[in-house]
């Protein structure tokens, strides 16, 4: 497993843990109401689990298992992968926390734009590696 994959998969696991923790708080609030504000965490819950966990995990595993090149750099342009890693986490933080905290819409848009850029970087990194083995 490459260092980029280790960081991306571990970050995805942390998003899973955070997403599950927030989900548990909200479910507890439904069963034993304490503070209705807890339910405002829903957008952050969705952001963490949909983009932070599922999407980021897919990216991390793809960095690892897609076919490598026969010459260096064998994993392609890893800088694009690191950019995708940074951007997806920045985007999840801005868009998720922004919606939760009623931040200005520009913060949420910034987060969404970072998520789009992350996907573009990931696709640019992965595209040449989607190839017949040994080529």
């Amino acid at each position: 497993m490459t260092r980029l994959s280790v960081w991306t998969v571990r970050s995805a696991l942390l998003c899973l843990g955070a997403g599950f923790s927030i989900g548990a708080l909200m479910l507890t609030q439904k069963g034993a109401p304490v503070d209705p504000n807890v339910l405002r965490l829903l957008p952050l819950h969705i952001e963490l689990l949909l983009f932070g966990w599922t999407l980021q995990l897919g990216m991390g595993i793809a960095f690892w298992i897609l076919p490598r090149f026969s010459r260096e750099p064998r994993y392609g342009d890893v800088r694009l992968g690191w950019a995708a890693f940074a951007l997806i986490n920045f985007g999840v933080g801005c868009a998720g926390a922004g919606q939760w905290l009623n931040a200005p819409v520009s913060i949420i848009l910034l987060g969404r734009a970072a998520e789009v850029l992350a996907v573009v970087c990931f696709a640019r990194h992965a595209w040449p590696r989607v190839k017949a083995t040994g080529t």
């Binding site: 280790v6 899973l16 599950f20 548990a24 439904k30 069963g31």
Partner: protein, 139 residues
């Protein structure tokens, strides 16, 4: 394929079928009179799909495919993986029962089912993270 992976994936397939069936029933609510408990199942539908199906399928695949922990213990802390499987499935089942009842008949006092469900799923999620974390490593 390890036994735990087979359990995760086969259980995920059952949840997938249940989620799709429930989605069909929810789509029919405009044409057929269903009991209110069934109509309160929308959040359960999403979680059957995302936790029961998607997360468990991923958990099963990760437990199988991640780099081996060591020659002696290739799958790492396997009991933690089994704990995750059991906790998540009991927790999700309690939610399936408790959420529609709590939404439609709160006088029954079944809110505790949701609290227990939340704790079980939370523990299951973190147990899985603890189980696979040491296997996410550079060669």
């Amino acid at each position: 394929m390890p036994r735990l992976t087979r359990y995760f994936i086969k259980t995920a397939l059952i949840y997938l079928a249940a989620a799709m069936l429930l989605g069909l029933l929810l789509a029919l609510r405009t044409t057929i009179d269903f009991p209110p408990e069934l109509l309160a199942l929308s959040p359960v539908y999403f979680h059957l799909f995302m936790v029961g199906w998607a997360a468990q399928l991923i958990f099963g695949m990760l437990f199988w495919m991640l780099p081996k922990y060591s020659r002696e213990k290739p799958r790492g802390h396997e009991p933690l993986g089994w704990a995750a499987y059991i906790l998540i499935n009991i927790g999700l089942s309690l939610r399936v029962i408790g959420e529609p009842l709590n939404a439609t008949q709160s006088e029954l006092g079944v809110g505790w089912l949701l609290v227990v469900s939340a704790l079980l799923q939370l523990s299951g999620g973190w147990a899985f993270i603890a189980a696979v974390w040491p296997r996410v490593k550079e060669r």
